[in-house]
């Protein structure tokens, strides 16, 4: 059963639906105000909203930079690409090194 009560002029299910908009700063000022009032009065949503924001922030902080390709794989991929490009009628000049 879904826990759903109205606090601060907005229901828990509505807060859940708008959490991403809130986190991304895309909620209207009025919606933002209602969500914040709700979070102050609802432990359930305050706890989950905090966890939601924390995970997204961690994701952005920890994984933003892609890992460089391992050297062997990088060379293999480039060798294959170079071979295929040799038969391409694309840009003139030497094939990529």
């Amino acid at each position: 059963m879904v826990h759903d009560r109205e606090v601060g002029g907005i229901r828990c299910t509505e807060v859940l639906a708008h959490l991403s908009d809130y986190l991304d700063g895309e909620a209207s000022p009025e919606l933002r105000e209602r969500i914040e009032a709700h979070l102050r009065g609802c432990d359930w949503c305050e706890r989950f909203g905090g966890a939601f924001a924390s995970v997204i922030r961690s994701l952005r902080a920890e994984l933003t930079e892609p890992q460089p390709l391992p050297g062997e794989q990088r060379e293999r991929l480039r060798r294959t690409l170079r071979r295929r490009l040799q038969s391409e009628p694309g840009p003139a000049g030497d094939p990529p090194a």
Binding site: M1, V2, H3, D4, C12, T13, L16, A17, L19, S20, D21, E26, W44, C45, R47, F48, G50, A51, F52, S54, V55, I56, S58, L59, R60, E62, L63, T64, P66, Q67, P68, L69, Q73, R74, L77, R78, T80, L81, R84, L85, E88, G90, P91, A92, G93, D94, P95, P96, A97
Partner: protein, 192 residues
């Protein structure tokens, strides 16, 4: 005005279109890791390598066709995405999203006694996030990689997916909730 790095990418694309193959090498240097990360989010390793070849061959062939509607990075990721989905659809069919938002929220720990972020604060933050990401369905992984990791603007993702901005935001929200669910080990908890 595009950011400096995108201006450099645009110059490299122009140079490639004019026949400078060394510009292609520079574009590879700048984008290969991001392309591979997106492809791995959608495909098994071997297929990701095929997608990598397909992506950069397309970049090579179509450098002159870049129209500047997005950043070069987004354009290249869009090519990679299309390559991946052609492969994915051949094998798996279209993904489906059947849970209601409330069901999804509950599975993600909404209303649960435990805190899905707590594990992250303890240890192995990066490994746990990667594992949770790997456990997501490919369409969710794709969205999380594009938006949170590559920081592609929502409107550009919407164009890439050929859906509206609102639908993109909605899918992203669900993907984020499923990530929390994945961090919790996939179980649906409800502490009401």
């Amino acid at each position: 005005m595009p950011p400096a790095t995108d201006l450099e990418d645009q110059q490299l694309l122009k140079a490639l279109a004019a026949g400078d193959r060394s510009a292609f090498e520079r574009l590879l240097d700048r984008h290969e890791a991001a392309v591979m990360r997106l492809l791995r989010a959608l495909l098994p390793e071997e297929a990701a390598e095929d997608g990598f070849q397909e992506t950069f061959l397309s970049v090579f062939r179509n450098a002159g066709g870049f129209q500047g509607r997005s950043s070069v990075r987004t354009w290249i990721l869009s090519i990679a995405r299309n390559a991946a989905w052609r492969h994915y659809r051949r094998r798996s069919g279209e993904p489906r999203d059947l849970l209601s938002l409330e069901e999804l929220g509950l599975a993600a720990g909404w209303g649960g006694a435990d805190d899905p972020a707590a594990a992250l604060e303890r240890q192995e933050r990066r490994r746990l996030l990667e594992k949770a990401l790997e456990a997501l369905p490919p369409p969710d992984r794709e969205l999380i990689v594009l938006r949170e990791l590559e920081q592609v603007p929502v409107r550009e993702i919407a164009a890439m997916l050929d859906i509206g901005v609102g639908a993109t935001k909605s899918r992203l929200h669900r993907a984020r909730l499923r990530l929390l669910q994945s961090l919790r080990g996939g179980g649906a908890g409800h502490g009401a």
